[in-house]
């Protein structure tokens, strides 16, 4: 369970999120939608503990991300950022194993064929799937994904959505940021649109 309690986030003198409260239940998929610059990625980053809200609090179960050590936080939530850039030529398998066991998740996300390729040679969509796989491999109860469908083809989108549904059914709290252009959100249990 994620509890967002009256948070305000100000960045560069601009109020990005104002006095916003929300409860995100465990075992569900919640999608945050909005146009560019609406603050949806900022909200996700605040839940992940990357950003400290200017006012208000966010808790994951009973833990406050800004007051929790990085190591402990990694056992509570995992996150895949939108534009993952790889600078060193580790293989796909090595990168996913930095999160946890790789074989099953590589199979599910159709990455087994490129397991031994260097991540520096991947396309945008492949890099994004590797980042998603790494976050899922972490096996944290809360999974945060920033625009995971943005650079994916139809088959990959289907695979990712099916996997998120399976994880939610198994009890994970899945929070996904999606662009306002995303038409079909029937796979989401809850959609958050207005949080400014």
């Amino acid at each position: 369970m994620i509890t967002i309690n009256e948070i305000t986030i100000v960045r560069d003198n601009r109020e990005i999120i104002y006095d916003y409260s929300e409860q995100i239940p465990a075992g569900s998929i919640t999608v945050i939608v909005g146009p560019n610059g609406s603050g949806k990625s900022t909200l996700l980053a605040a839940i992940a503990g990357d950003i400290v809200p200017t006012k208000g609090t966010i808790t994951i179960d009973d833990a406050h991300p800004p007051l929790t050590s990085a190591a402990h936080l990694a056992t509570l939530r995992a996150m895949a950022i939108q534009n993952q850039v790889y600078t060193l030529g580790f293989t796909v398998r090595e990168v996913i194993e930095m999160g946890g066991a790789a074989d099953e998740i590589m199979e599910q996300l159709h990455l087994s064929d490129i397991a031994n390729r260097q991540v520096t040679t991947l396309s945008g969509g492949e890099s994004q799937r590797v980042a998603i796989a790494q976050a899922i491999a972490q096996k944290a109860p809360v999974l945060l994904l920033d625009e995971p469908l943005a650079a994916q083809d139809i088959d990959s989108r289907r695979r990712i959505i099916a996997l998120l549904k399976k994880l939610a059914d198994e009890g994970s709290t899945v929070v996904v940021v999606a662009h306002a252009n995303e038409n079909d959100l029937s796979w989401a249990d809850k959609v958050i649109k207005d949080f400014l």
């Binding site: 990694a74 939530r77 995992a78 950022i81 993952q84 850039v85 060193l88 990168v95 040679t121």
Partner: protein, 326 residues
Amino acid sequence: MKKYFPYISGVILFIFVLIALSVGATQIENFWSALAHPGSNEILWQIRIPRVAAAVLVGAALGIAGLMAQGACNNALAEPAILGTSAGASFGAVLAILLGVVQVGSIGAVICGALGALCATSLTFRLASLRSNLSSFALIIVGIAVSAIITAVVGLASTMVTRADARSISFWNFGSLSLITNNNVAALGSVLLIGAGLAWKVAPTLDLLSLGDATAFHLGVDTRKARMLALVALSILAGGAVSTVGTIAFLGLAAPHIARFIYGPAHRFLIIQSALIGATLLVAADTAARTIAAPNELPIGLVTSLIGAPILIVLVSMRNTIWKTP
């Protein structure tokens, strides 16, 4: 065959060490016999062995220091000379020597060099992140500027003071192994042991830092603490090397890159390989520096560049997917 691949660098270093011990301005008669009997030949045991041992230790220290700099900054251009680390080490050592607190090559000079290196590197990081998050561009530009200022101050100080034990501006800028003693070798060995130990501890975290600060944090890394540990290791290694033999160009940049191109990106394995390749490059460069124009010596920094740069260019041309700059 492939399982023996990692040992090849060790074998190559061993061969270069034997060549370095056997050649020089003076020919050593019955070389193998002299080598087998400690103290039997003064030139071999009092001059060449300490010098070649120092080349191995300094080359290894600078190789690992460069790896720590590149890993901590997640930047292919980072190295002790560019981040201000080498200049800071020179400054710390020169200041302490001029104040009469320590002597060149002593443990005291090494400690002052390491402290100077740490202060200068921290200053570079602090200034580079004043107005925004730390960017690679700001880090390199600020590092070059900090390095230039401190190098100028070291140059002024060593030019104005004529004491022989303070060493020359050429020594601090280009490095030299010609004045090495057995005591220096012991101090360098201690520095390498401590610095490499710290580097070994922080290495797996640097693998995660290569994914960027945000992803490393999501995976459980305290990025500030990891970076600080790597910078302390960098400062100890570069500080110890520079305060004893001056600034030796290019090794800190070339050795980790050459190791990475051959052996891949995992930092723990790269610590060993960067050390071996850095040591080999410096032993080869020092041997060339003291034999090409014997009995005169060439500045060693020039020779390390002449040997290391072509190897790096060939490797970059052959295989350039190991490091991708965003």
